[in-house]
Symmetry: D2
Subunit: 299 residues, 4 copies
């Protein structure tokens, strides 16, 4: 029932569905570029005004060097008035817009490809399936604007379980096809809700619209490479079947399909830019469980 890709690309494989992205597939994807308009899909990384999880701490940009250090390069022949500003970043690897490594989630104590959950070491980092195994990728991307599809307002009702049929119908309505090797971008409008709610001073709710198990199976059967969404976890919350991280287990663990979270899809949706090429470039942090990202979508 559940698509399982363990062993499909070898018993030692650590890249999962990214194996689908052969040069031929990428070259074909390039033909999806029609306007050349570039969208930067990351949301800001800052200490306030963006959705953050308390336990991940405050993302901080701390100044390393500024104009108060003027003169420190004089010994290197630095002219008066010349200098540099620098900073240091402290942030969770799953801060705001981010990509999960295959080592992020496990079910029945196993990650993708049967790797044990003890592959993650505190000091040593991920011994397998870390974000460094991704490198970076380019693929055809299809944006499914579920806000427009359901037409319930500026965002999909919180808690709605989006099904495979919903996705297929939205694709059909938009006139785009979802293919093997694609990155599917599912817009729920959650970020727009979140900012609207913030402006109103509301408590941020636990619920979010997202895909359920049915949609996850549909995506896995289609052989997509990654699923990006504008919510916190791609999946509907409360979790489908009340199974914590249900969709992470279907996609990330069983199918080796990557998840991209808190991806802002408003601008391409407004342009009805439903097809193009996407590049995703996680920081190559050795042994990390994920990385903040800023995907580039070229329509």
């Amino acid at each position: 029932m559940t698509k399982n890709n363990w062993g499909r690309w070898g018993d030692d494989d650590e890249r999962g569905a990214l194996n689908l992205l052969t040069p031929e597939v990428v070259k074909a994807a390039a033909s999806s570029i029609t306007t050349g308009k570039v969208y930067s899909l990351g949301i800001p990384i800052q200490s306030h005004g963006v959705p953050l999880m308390d336990y991940r701490g405050t993302p901080m940009r701390l100044t390393l060097q500024d104009s108060t250090d003027d003169g420190i390069y004089e010994m290197y022949g630095c002219h008066t008035g010349t200098g540099a500003h620098e900073d240091v970043l402290v942030m969770a690897s799953h801060t705001t817009s981010h990509m999960d490594a295959l080592v992020h989630v496990y079910g029945e104590y196993k990650h993708y490809n049967g790797v044990g959950h003890d592959a993650m070491h505190a000091l040593g980092g991920a011994q397998k399936l870390g974000i460094d195994k991704v490198g970076g990728f380019a693929a055809r991307a299809v944006l499914l604007d579920m806000v427009s599809f359901f037409d319930e307002g500026e965002w999909v009702t919180l808690g709605r379980n989006i099904t495979g049929n919903d996705l297929a119908s939205a694709a059909e309505k938009q006139g785009v096809e979802v293919r093997a090797g694609d990155v599917v971008l599912v817009r729920t409008g959650y970020l727009q809700f979140w900012w609207d709610n913030l402006a109103k001073g509301g408590q941020q709710p636990f619920e979010q619209a997202g895909i359920g198990a049915d949609a996850a199976h549909w995506l896995a059967d289609t052989d997509v490479v990654a699923v990006g969404c504008d919510n916190a976890a791609v999946e509907v919350i409360p979790f489908d079947d009340n199974d914590f991280l249900n969709i992470h287990k279907i996609l990330l663990v069983n199918a080796g399909i990557y998840l991209l979270e808190f991806i802002n899809l408003l601008e391409p949706a407004q342009d009805q830019a439903y097809e193009g090429i996407i590049t995703v470039a996680p920081l190559k942090v050795t042994g990390a469980t994920g990385s903040p990202i800023n995907p580039i979508f070229i329509a």
Copy 2:
């Protein structure tokens, strides 16, 4: 003499040469894709074995959550054996492969477009020209393999000042054209030298091959968008004319042309993949002076 782009895109402009990247230019760039092979140009972010500057501190990946926390999600209906690994990153924004924001360097107390060097605040961050103004971009990229051009071994001699004529001749030899709106990737082999030297236990020298003022003027006159290099600062060290950050001032400050540093160009050079499209996606850290990056080059 020196190309100066202050005011060219408006007195309030904060994006510099990125203004050249209209959708038409990007769409045209897509036609440079010939093989579909994808190169991830970032080098690893880790505490050892990569070039780091002492004053920037050790990049750290610290585990936020691992299997020792098993059971914390039970209250949310989490099945036994299901869990997640996470980490926190601490690193300079100019760690390993990175992009300088326009607010990074100033000369005569001015940044690009005449912005005063006091635009950088310790707590407040960059008030103007921060990395968040970049968003992310896609452009045609041309790789100039100066290692192959000079043919002096596995890297260009440390300290060699690469000229505009050198770049033009290399392009001609490779059969590629450098155009307005391009990202020019200059390979000096410095990273290969660095790793070779590390393996031999050598002291890492101060010198590096890089472009000098002549090449910087040539690039600025050509109206390129960014210059990427496999060394620490794009520019030759010792600095051309003994002027500290000379090339940063010609390109970043005067021309609004971005610099990408510690970009690994070995793999595309080995493939003689000299032309393609590049996407650069800095983290959208509000007010930051730069960002680690992992550029994606599609040949």
Copy 3:
């Protein structure tokens, strides 16, 4: 009018009122020990449940090494079952219970002893008056329990401006004398209010009881070494005379008297332990503006 200690201990002095603590003074202070009961006056450093300032970010304890790293010391002859746990701390130097260095606050662009406010460099740290100049100290300590004195409930009314006469009267009532060379601990009950309010889910108010200019002058005239308080800034908020950091300027800047903030005084107050010796041991971070502390009070 305002006590000014600039120059009193030399034009190059960087320790201020700590100069009062000669060995003779400390030896005499030891005779204030009567019961031998030890109080640790710091409050916990953790991400929740303690008063934190948003702009200082979340204090984080991040695990560096845990049991998932088992086996890494085998090469050093480590027996099976032997290992170590470690962590990394990220926190503001003014997190929870802390001590201000003399370089912390400036007025009219000057710190204590006329040091310019440009003595603080972003990369270089404090060129003068940093916390590293303190070393650590021991002194006689007198606790003035203003909660008991005002007898208004479990805490002094928020926003109350405690005067010099209030302090003198409380000392008299308690039967203790405040002397030159003392650390004066002023209990307002603010922490008890804060925790009570947290438990009730209340918004934490801006106001706090604390000392005003009158009390600050009284303390400076008495030649105390430091003032510790259980609130955020020692001083009453709203600031006395609506002058931001008014009391910091009277004590820290003009008199070189140190401030200890968020110091928990409940336990000694409950024991009516009003006199003893205190040791204050800031971390010796070179160039820092302050340090978290955990003062030890021996009654």
Copy 4:
């Protein structure tokens, strides 16, 4: 043979030998103060010039707020020229001078009092025996200057295994008595070696003088509370009996006796200040495995 204090202070005890420090013991310790001279025993926390372990990363003091932020408090009625400097600290809890919590080391998968090594959680921190259980303490302190005792130069020969008889003989020679409830400070001169070696540009060796199993048993039998030393780990390296963390297991794990490392004992040794009171005030970081400290010794 090996002193074992598990259960001695109750099966749920988390403070170990600190239980010996009753108010009576502390009051008696106060009588050891003879000169009133105060010594701050911590070494600087900075990125260079002090012994650091690579895997713990660079300790960083990062500026949070400086004069470039001038004007941000105007909205609160701040006068022109008034402002504050602040910073953020990033450092391992075992950086330079530090104290180990009882949760730091385990043997046969057990910590002090039989607590399992799984008591340490990555996100949750120490569930038991964390540094927060210490609070802070005061005790009589005896300094044993082994450099003077062995009289081999400015430091004890690297790798020398200091025995119980050595400690007892040194105490006798110095005319001091080591008692139950004491903190014993063992000076090996290692820090002086380290700085001397740094100045000479030498590679820092693995070896250090320190106490061996014999001395550890002698200290445990004497019922001391803590052992402080000027080396990296209190214990001799190479480890006695080639047993990794041998002395940590005898003292910390079996006897619940605390270890204080990289404690600078030069100044009191020069003064022949062999007896006094010491206060140790770890930061009260909830769930941490240790803390940087700056012990205060009053002779």
